[in-house]
């Protein structure tokens, strides 16, 4: 692998005399080697970046990350160490116009630095594969949650419990299987503390498995650019004890039965529920529905102000138009970013309910 130039003579006379590795260099190489090992082991053992994961999958990923961090740190120290040493050691004396040592290659070295990285790669690939297989392992008692993403809101349906929520609640230490689908563009479900991320596609189901191991509340972040409201497409994942999970669940069931019972009498409750289920709350603030979205106009008092927006348009007509054809009127200071297809997404009955609900916001 060494020479590309036929006249071997010129090489021999230049390769032999200078000491490519003198005593100092050998010492420095040794020191760099030791430093690399120490730094690598240190970085691997005290990985300062990824620790305290809140899921069992995350713990495995963190362990893999630590090992990789250790290896990367070692390589980093070796390369930068030799680079820095060379810069100091081999810098030209002023006025020295001579050339360096004319050697062109060293087959042994080249084999070493091809083979060692290759071995590392094999190790990492095997290790990564094992972790991958483990973190995606199904469990018999998985709690299934159907996740629906849309611009710019999350919704979580628990088929076994027949419950829908805008937050993901998970019982501690029980594996949750998320079966995810998007209504419009590609989103990505990500909870950094769980280390789990998965794109949510409009044309196919994707799955993610998470076992929460630390009680707490963690942000759900959309990680795939999904439009103007991408930054605001957030929710929360709550890991709670089995008892807390049960009481949360009963609370929801209670609210639902109350809502269902009250439906004929109270269209407002139905509207409130739709406002959340339809994802309106992701972008619009409305105190009555506990919504605090920032992307679109505030809807507190819309029942009164709607009549004043467009000359000759009644409050009801204005609200209806704003839902099904939102770009007809854009409130100053806001962008024309609301999805245009709520007319198709929502059954007409639901649009009516929403309009009545919003009209009631005096």
């Amino acid at each position: 692998m060494s020479m590309s130039q036929p006249p071997a003579q010129s090489e021999r006379d230049s390769v032999s005399p200078p000491r490519v590795f003198d005593t100092t260099s050998k010492l420095v190489a040794f020191v760099i080697g030791v430093l690399a090992i120490v730094a690598g082991v240190g970085a691997g053992m005290f990985n300062p970046f990824l620790s305290n994961s809140a899921s069992s999958q995350g713990i495995l990923i963190d362990a893999l990350f630590s090992v990789l961090l250790g290896i990367a740190t070692s390589i980093f120290v070796i390369v930068q160490g030799f680079l820095l040493y060379s810069i100091v050691r081999f810098s030209r004396e002023p006025d020295d116009e001579t050339d360096g040592m004319a050697f062109r290659g060293h087959t042994g070295l080249e084999i070493v630095w091809t083979a060692v990285p290759a071995a590392i790669v094999v190790f990492l690939a095997v290790f990564s594969y094992q972790v991958l297989a483990e973190i995606e392992q199904p469990r018999p008692d998985e709690l299934i949650v159907e996740v629906t993403a849309q611009q710019y809101a999350w919704s979580f349906f628990y088929p076994d419990l027949d419950l829908t929520s805008t937050e993901l609640h998970m019982p501690l230490d029980r594996q949750v299987l998320l079966r995810m689908r998007s209504k419009d563009v590609i989103h990505a479900f990500w909870v950094p503390q769980f280390r789990i991320k998965r794109d949510v596609m409009p044309d196919r189901l994707t799955e993610a498995r998470i076992t929460g191991t630390e009680i707490g509340t963690y942000p759900i972040v959309c990680a795939e650019l999904c439009g103007v409201g991408h930054s605001y497409m957030r929710s929360q994942a709550v890991v709670q004890s089995a008892a807390d999970f049960l009481s949360w669940q009963q609370g929801l069931i209670g609210a639902k039965t109350r809502g269902a019972g009250a439906k004929p009498a109270d269209p407002m409750a139905a509207g409130r529920q739709l406002f959340t289920q339809g994802g309106c709350n992701a972008c619009h603030a409305l105190a009555d529905a506990g919504a605090a979205g920032q992307l679109g106009p505030k809807l507190d008092g819309i029942g009164t102000t709607a009549a004043t927006r467009v000359l000759g348009q009644s409050a009801e007509a204005y609200i209806r138009t704003s839902i099904v054809k939102p770009n007809d009127t854009i409130v100053p200071g806001y962008q024309p970013v609301m999805p245009q297809d709520y007319g198709q997404r929502l059954p007409p009955r639901n649009v009516d309910t929403l309009v009545q609900y919003l009209l009631g916001q005096k």
Partner: protein
């Protein structure tokens, strides 16, 4: 275009300023045209970046709305890739590769000019798409979001078609030139490594870019005619866009970094006064990267809905790419070892390239490992990684090459003092900007967001301040490169005492390059060997000082 209005030095034996403004077939003119235009876009893309970094000083900054912000990073990415790094390397290669090969021009001079002039409508359309708004789906333009965005997106796609054709034609031209037009005696193993690198780059351009073209045609037709290729709502396949897009766009990373490898392989031996270490392995690894680079694209899609089983083979191929890359790094380190290093600005940038590219390479291994990628995909970790590769790698190498060949191109040296200021501001500013982004990503900040959780603010402030330093650092270079046209030290034919054929010609070279075809009996890296010593000592080497 100010750079071409020189103090009369970039005349190439009688060029007028107006020659640089029209369809001219001289590869040297075209090279300068590419360089000037692409540098202007570097500034434009940089200003966009500064605007975004300023916006990110506070977590909920109202200055840029979500829509404008999305369009800004879309255009920032598109401009930096398609109108700065790729054409700037094309420009530099256009100027130096024929000279290095001992050729009088490219194989197809008219096609060469056409390649450049296709870039101009592409650039104009891209700017227009930004100003009418709508191209807000990132430079990756994932469908169906890229079907939902407004009209600027269509213009964006059309502009990339122009740029794509430009790339294909220039790749074709380089391949034929390198294959067919080498000086007598220049066998493949005597060819400069820059030529090897550009040949590898050209292979990717020829085989990768048409796939992007195909995908873009389908996107345009989908948007304009309603052919629902990618429209999930009508049964189309959004993942197909990702597959086609990354089939080009991952190799495109190598389009942007192989020329950098070439430049480093030229610059390091000259300033270490030593032969390049392991010539054959460096040359072969360029080709290995070019071909293997086509087999890794799906690592961008580990978290997408693609078949989970496919992730493992793609993880393996992605990691394997690290091996030839590592070989190059180690070979450069061995080239420095035992040298007589001269710390010219060019060499500083080259050494910084090695140092920074290693970081980008190592973070790449993290991303190739599927379980870790599941966590860091689409976060600031990726932003940090790609900037270490494309700025710490490609742009550092670009500057190394510009400082190295500027005297050949203009006949005058860039000022070394201001060069060092440029280097240190760039190097320090770059690291302050992008190092913290690794941590941001690991801790949970997604990319492409105009507002973020408050706990990420401190590191964002650090990154933004670093970016100000980085941006300011470009000013000395701009001033230097213009002022040096008149004031720079006269370079002479061979200011670096280098062995490449381009240094046997006067600076700048005459219009038709080599009056008599040079003959070659060795590679240009024999520093320290007797033959090279004789050659450099000869007072009147062809076109010598």
């Amino acid at each position: 275009m100010t750079e071409t209005v020189s103090g009369g030095l970039i005349r190439h034996g009688g060029r007028k300023v107006s020659d640089y403004l029209v369809f001219n077939t001289d590869h040297k003119v075209i090279g300068i045209q590419y360089l000037v235009v692409s540098f202007a876009f570097f500034i434009f893309g940089g200003l966009l970046a500064e605007a975004m970094r300023s916006h990110l000083l506070t977590p909920n900054n109202p200055i840029l709305g979500g829509e404008v912000y999305n369009e800004m990073f879309t255009i920032h990415g598109t401009v930096m890739i398609f109108l700065w790094i790729i054409p700037a390397f094309t420009g530099l290669a256009n100027y130096v590769v024929p000279l290095m090969l001992g050729a009088n021009d490219m194989a197809f001079p008219k096609l060469n000019a056409l390649s450049f002039w296709l870039l101009i409508p592409g650039a104009a359309l891209l700017l227009l798409s930004f100003f009418i708004g709508g191209a807000g789906s990132g430079w990756t333009a994932y469908a169906p979001l890229s079907l939902q965005t407004s009209n600027g997106q269509t213009l964006w796609a059309i502009s990339l078609q122009f740029i794509g054709f430009s790339t294909i034609f220039s790749g074709l031209n380089f391949l034929v030139t390198i294959f067919n037009m080498r000086a007598p005696g220049m066998t493949l193993t005597r060819m400069p490594l820059m030529a090897w690198a550009i040949a590898a780059t050209s292979i990717i351009q020829i085989l990768g870019t048409p796939v992007l073209s195909g995908a873009l045609f389908m996107l345009i037709l989908n948007r304009v005619l309603g052919t629902n290729f990618f429209a999930a709502s009508a049964g189309g396949d959004p993942l197909m866009w990702q597959n086609l897009f990354w089939f080009y766009s991952h190799p495109a990373v190598y389009i942007m970094v192989l020329p950098a490898f070439g430049i480093i392989s030229e610059v390091i031996p000259v300033f270490a006064r030593k032969p390049i270490f392991g010539y054959r392995l460096i040359a072969v690894s360029s080709m290995a990267i070019a071909i293997a680079g086509f087999l890794v694209w799906a690592h961008h899609m580990f978290t997408s809905g693609m078949d989970p089983l496919l992730r493992v083979p793609f993880m393996i191929t992605s990691m394997v790419i690290a091996i030839p890359t590592g070989v190059k790094i180690f070979s450069w380190l061995a080239t420095i070892w035992g040298g007589k290093l001269r710390f010219t600005t060019s060499n500083l940038f080259a050494l910084a390239f090695i140092s920074m590219f290693v970081i980008g390479g190592l973070s790449g291994i993290f991303l190739a490992s599927v379980p870790i990628d599941i966590h860091v995909q689409d976060t600031y970790f990726v932003v940090a990684h790609l900037h270490y590769v494309l700025f710490g790698g490609s742009v550092m190498a670009m500057f190394a090459g510009l400082y190295y060949w500027y005297p050949k191109i203009t006949g005058r040296l860039l000022d070394e003092g201001w060069g060092k200021v440029h280097f240190w501001m760039t190097f320090i500013g770059f690291n302050i900007t992008f190092l913290p982004m690794h941590v941001l990503g690991l801790e949970g900040m997604p990319r492409r967001v105009s507002s973020y959780a408050p706990e990420f603010q401190p590191l964002n402030i650090v990154a933004t301040l670093g970016s100000f330093l980085l941006a300011t650092g470009t000013l000395p270079f701009m001033v230097n490169s213009i002022v040096s046209l008149w004031r720079g030290k006269v370079a002479g034919a061979n200011p670096w005492r280098a062995l490449g054929l381009e240094w046997t010609l006067p600076s700048p070279p005459p219009i038709h390059n080599f009056p008599t075809p040079p003959t070659v009996d060795s590679d240009p890296y024999g520093y320290g060997e007797p033959k090279a010593r004789q050659r450099l000592a000869a007072p009147s080497a062809p076109g010598g000082n």
